[in-house]
């Protein structure tokens, strides 16, 4: 291995550049971390970069003081697990059926599904539909409407389609039923796409708060983590304004910037820790889906 001076120069520059790029990516996050750990009145004066100036845990205390945050977290986890398992199951069944060339409704069903990607009902009709299905203020509203995502179905279908037909044929010749073929053969060799789709669905469930806000806001016992934190944030922003209409209150409120920073930490850190372990599937999965014969 002979390295020329040019190589060294290139490497040095390369590393310097990558370090800078890395820092630029990490900095906003570290900055938020510092703000979340800094005294709220001190933060208003600006100039917090990487380290907090006046250390405090009060910003986190305010978030965790919110009633039912723990239960909201538990519900979010249940929703994510349940939603992912059921969603993956249904997506798999649909995608497999659509991938089989002998399925007689294949073309029509494909067309219908793709259509829904371009045209959706709009907010109010969707709201009325959910209401008329009696899903309002019920846990099922988190799961049922999201069981199938056409985007995921298409990725999975493409994957199934590029599996060699021979495998399935030979299994059938050996007397396997359709279910046996799917569960014993096809799924066994489809782990990458399954984990990708599972991750897609899980992240979607974990992040979503809009359905909570729209369909289940009247039942406090259905509040999810994201929605609860959203409430804390909006509340803190409103109070800063409304307090000044009532000069009586002299106690200090935490300003929204500090609370936003702390909330960001609370919601991103769990995902951040899981991510490295799933990332390899994530990247692989997307490229797999993109492959077409």
């Amino acid at each position: 291995m002979n390295r020329t001076r040019g190589d060294y120069a290139f490497n040095t520059l390369n590393y310097a550049f990558l370090t800078l790029l890395g820092f630029a990516t990490v900095f906003p996050f570290l900055n938020l971390l510092a703000i979340s750990l800094n005294d709220t009145l001190d933060t208003m004066r600006g100039g917090i970069y990487l380290l907090p100036r006046k250390w405090t845990l009060l910003n986190y205390e305010i978030i965790f003081r919110e009633n039912g945050l723990l239960m909201a977290g538990v519900r979010s986890v249940i929703r994510t697990v349940l939603g992912t398992v059921l969603g993956l199951f249904c997506t798999t069944l649909l995608a497999y059926a659509l991938s089989r060339k002998e399925f007689f409704l294949r073309k029509q069903l494909n067309a219908v599904l793709v259509l829904t990607m371009y045209i959706n009902g709009g907010l109010i009709p969707t709201y009325l539909l959910i209401r008329n299905l009696h899903l309002m203020n019920h846990f099922a509203v988190y799961i049922l409407p999201l069981l199938i995502s056409v985007y995921n179905v298409i990725i999975m279908r493409s994957y199934f389609e590029q599996l060699p037909d021979g495998i399935i044929e030979s299994a059938k010749i050996d007397g396997a039923s359709d279910y046996q073929v799917l569960f014993r053969i096809v799924l066994q060799i489809s782990l990458p796409v399954l984990s990708t789709i599972a991750l897609f669905i899980a992240v979607m469930h974990w992040n979503s708060w809009f359905d909570n806000y729209l369909y289940a806001s009247r039942n406090q016992n259905l509040s999810l983590l994201q929605y609860t934190l959203q409430k804390v944030l909006i509340q803190s922003a409103n109070e800063i304004v409304s307090d000044n209409g009532h000069a009586n209150i002299q106690a200090i409120r935490n300003n929204p910037e500090s609370i936003r920073a702390a909330i960001t930490m609370v919601v991103t850190l769990p995902i951040l820790f899981v991510y490295p372990f799933l990332q390899k599937y994530f990247v692989k999965g997307i490229t797999i889906g993109a492959m077409k014969e």
């Binding site: 001190d42 907010l123 203020n137 039923s177």
Partner: protein
């Protein structure tokens, strides 16, 4: 043949699984729906023929109504609200709208699924009225609302909609004076005043001399450059920094971006001569290096203020947020502000301290067509308007929140101490309510008096002084004043403000273009380096705004204002 059958079977199997899932979800919903926690409006118990009530005329049986709010901390589990239930039988259950409440209101209206009491703004009140979702209240008030009528007095007719019926209830202002916590909107650091020996500051020129002298002596604050006069440009804050000071310094009532001339003509402020002379003042500051160099960036004003670097600015109290608290916490009380009215010249007559007789234009309470026993809601609101209800909701409970000393109500020491320690104490005691437009629980205004001759709310000069620190008291004493509100002129009543009215749809596009032209050209004007450059930039802006449809917009607003005033005159007479 068998092959085909099997494939059918598979497809069917797939759909069966899906259907089964759906069915499971639906049946599950019934179980949960029966849980006691479910909080739809249907679950409000009907007021039955329950227990005999104390007052023969009024039904005091327990009844729960739902009401929407965007305030997550409101609770019915507080001493004052419990007392309200005791007096009226009514409990409120809050239906929380987080985030975009307009979207929620639309969805509710579309699905006929709204709370019993709906807190709406004027625009949505119209929408709901047109859809028949809310009921007219006039007859109910005639029958059950003597106190509502009494408190509104001659302004009662203002509640009426165009069709002559009343759909919404909100605060009435019975006060004849400015609230003791009102302040002028120009701010000057108290240290600046102190060093100059507390001179009279009445005009912008005097202000200029003051900050110029101070900055020469103190070019830096904690190693950072002193900012003579700060401003901000981000989104709506542009109006506060570059429109509202023109309004205040000329002593006009605040009609947003518009000036109402004596003859009723309405003119867009940023192109008036008054605007030009204010921008000239800013330009003078700029050329002397006194104007905030970051004023046209996207920074907010609060960080700079919290650092103690800003000597003066135009900033209403609420705009400062907690930055003055931050300064005090950092041990710099001298860097907090005097809040003064300052004028374009000596001859300005100040009419800016205007008050409207009601809080119309903000949120108000409407009663949904689906609410059971709407008369109970009116009785509840009527209780809130009664003197007893006013004392309960504004002062609290005697012996806990206030005491009577020498025949006067005085806020209890305990409550004062709690307010200094716990920012949420007003929620916990029950002083907070939702959506009545102004003061909570239909309060009738700081400084207003009840029939017993005592103040209707605890916010008096004395209570405001109690919240001041020593520096502030010293500054005020030097001017022979007690509170900042003492610097303000006499209150004059106006029917309403232009910004409270729904903007005319017909000139929406023009207005957007005009605002854009203003935003785009203003920095060049303020930052011009010579008089000729200033004139040039000014002419460019005026031309560009005129081309964007200025005349159309002014005409539309003149019409809007004339219509409003005609309605006001006719209703208050009728």
């Amino acid at each position: 043949m068998t092959m085909v059958k099997r494939k059918y079977g598979f497809a069917l199997g797939t759909s069966m699984v899906l259907l089964a899932g759906l069915a499971a979800g639906c049946s599950g919903s019934n179980n949960e729906g029966a849980a006691p926690s479910a909080s739809t409006s249907e679950s409000a118990p009907a007021s039955g023929s329950a227990s005999a009530s104390a007052a023969p005329s009024q039904d005091l049986s327990p009844i729960t109504y739902t009401i929407n709010t965007s305030d997550d901390k409101l609770t019915w589990d507080s001493p004052i609200t419990k007392k309200l239930t005791e007096k009226t039988g009514v409990s409120l259950k809050y239906d929380l709208t987080v985030g975009d409440q307009f979207q929620k209101w639309d969805l509710w209206l579309a699905s006929n699924d709204y709370p019993d009491i709906i807190s709406l703004d004027p625009k949505y009140t119209q929408k709901y009225k047109d859809a028949g979702a809310i009921i007219p209240l006039g007859d109910l008030i005639d029958q059950y609302g003597p106190h509502i009528k009494e408190k509104f007095g001659k302004y009662y007719n203002l509640l009426k909609d165009k069709d002559g019926k009343i759909y919404a209830l909100y605060n009435v202002n019975a006060s004849q004076e400015a609230s003791p916590d009102a302040t002028g909107s120009f701010i000057i650091q108290q240290d600046v005043l102190k060093e100059a020996g507390y001179p009279q500051v009445k005009t912008l020129d005097q202000l200029y001399e003051l900050i110029k002298a101070y900055k020469e002596k103190h070019p830096k604050v904690d190693g950072k450059e002193t900012i003579g006069f700060a401003a901000a440009m981000l989104s709506y804050t542009m109006n506060i920094s570059f429109n509202n000071p023109i309004v205040s310094s000329n002593g006009w009532p605040d009609n947003g971006n518009f000036k109402v001339e004596d003859n009723g003509d309405v003119n867009y402020i940023p192109v008036t001569e008054d605007a030009k002379s204010y921008y000239k003042f800013l330009n003078k500051l700029y050329r002397e290096g006194l104007f905030d160099k970051e004023a046209f960036s996207m920074d907010s004003i609060q960080a700079k203020i919290s650092q103690g670097r800003v000597l003066a600015a135009y900033a209403p109290g609420w705009f400062l947020g907690d930055s003055e608290k931050a300064l005090r916490a950092a041990g710099k009380p001298g860097s907090t502000y005097a809040h003064l009215p300052i004028y374009a010249n000596e001859n300005v007559e100040d009419h800016s301290n205007a008050m409207t007789p009601t809080a119309g234009g903000g949120l108000s309470w409407t009663i949904s067509a689906g609410a059971k026993n709407p008369e109970r809601i009116i009785q509840f609101i009527d209780y809130l308007f009664s003197d007893e209800g006013q004392v309960l909701t504004q002062w609290g409970i005697e012996g806990e929140d206030y005491n009577v000393e020498g025949g006067k109500r005085v806020v209890a020491e305990g409550l004062l101490a709690q307010r200094n320690a716990d920012p949420d104490v007003d929620y916990k005691r029950g002083f907070k309510s939702t959506g009545t437009g102004g003061a909570p629980w239909f309060g009738i205004g700081n400084g207003a008096k009840l029939a017993d001759g005592d103040y209707a709310t605890p916010l008096t000069k004395d209570s405001v002084v109690q919240t001041y620190d020593d520096t502030t008291k010293e500054t005020l004493a030097a001017y022979g004043k007690q509170v900042w509100a003492d610097f303000l002129p006499q209150v004059n009543f106006v029917p309403g403000y232009l910004w409270q009215l729904t903007p005319p749809e017909s000139v929406k596009v023009q207005q957007q273009k005009i605002d854009d032209a203003w935003r785009k050209n203003l920095p060049k004007i303020v930052m011009s380096k010579s008089d000729t450059e200033f004139e040039g930039a000014w002419t460019t802006m005026v031309n560009s705004i005129q081309k964007s449809g200025l005349d159309d917009m002014n005409k539309a607003y003149t019409q809007l204002w004339a219509d409003f005033n005609a309605t006001y005159e006719s209703t208050i007479g009728g």
